[in-house]
């Protein structure tokens, strides 16, 4: 398991190959990359700043991977999340899961992202032409997380 919170950009290809090369019983790898969009709720976004809670954030991400591992037969998982000031088009987050077969690996990757968005202590602040504002949590993210409790 790998969990990193960093200001630097990441190379998804490199991270995937590291995870893939570590063992030969992995038959499926799924990855998700989240990006900064230049439009949010109709406003043009010029910049995004991400804050986190050092210590708690890393523990929270590791706990989310452990919950995914308890639920599905995945062999490895990685989360890299950036903090600091980002521009539209920049990468924010990378989640990679690896396992024997695709079904469980797809599910685990989606589960990790849904939990990350609702449980891991990160906060986004957007800069638009109207000034800076903190991004509000979305109920659709809570719903996406809650559906995992039902099945």
């Amino acid at each position: 398991m790998t969990v990193r919170v960093q200001t630097e950009d990441f190379d998804a290809g490199f991270e995937i190959s590291q995870l893939r090369k570590a063992r030969k019983d992995i038959g499926a790898v799924v990855s998700f990359i989240g990006l900064v969009r230049d439009l949010n709720d109709g406003d043009a976004v010029s910049q995004l700043t991400l804050e986190h809670y050092p210590g708690m954030t890393e523990k929270s991400l590791a706990s989310i991977i452990n919950q995914a591992k308890a639920r599905w037969n995945i062999m490895d998982a990685l989360i890299v999340h950036r903090v600091g000031t980002l521009q539209p088009g920049d990468q924010i987050v990378l989640v990679v899961t690896g396992g024997a077969h695709r079904g469980e690996v797809f599910a685990a990757c989606e589960f990790i992202m849904d939990y990350l968005k609702t449980e891991a202590p990160f906060w986004k602040k957007e800069a638009t032409q109207q000034g800076e504002h903190w991004v509000e949590a979305k109920s659709t993210d809570d719903e996406a997380r809650e559906r995992w409790d039902r099945n």
């Binding site: 989240g34 991400l50 804050e51 986190h52 809670y53 210590g55 708690m56 523990k59 929270s60 999340h81 924010i92 987050v93 992202m113 990350l116 968005k117 609702t118 449980e119 891991a120 202590p121 990160f122 906060w123 986004k124 602040k125 903190w134 991004v135 509000e136 949590a137």
Partner: protein, 87 residues
């Protein structure tokens, strides 16, 4: 008892505090997150608005998300922050 407090995001910015050490005196009832929020809210308008107002506030004790009735112990690290928006 002594605790360490952290504030994040909108709370940190509005309260103009990122961290503080706090000495809490025993006054019968045990200290909980709710009691601490009510105590801090007495510092003034902006504290009341941020901690006991309409905005949702989440709390953590020693890096674990907790509810309002969670007990606080000597040496704990307590944090207050808005609902999370990462990813």
């Amino acid at each position: 008892m002594k605790i360490k407090l952290f504030y994040f995001a909108r709370l940190k910015e509005t309260l103009k505090y990122s961290t503080e050490d706090l000495e809490l005196t025993d006054s019968g009832d045990a200290w909980t997150i709710l009691k601490l929020k009510a105590y801090l809210a007495k510092r003034g308008d902006v504290w009341g608005q941020m901690l006991m107002g309409k905005l949702k506030v989440r709390a953590a004790i020693n890096h674990e998300l907790v509810h309002d009735n969670a007990p606080i112990a000597d040496g704990d690290e307590v944090a207050f922050f808005p609902p999370v928006t990462g990813g």
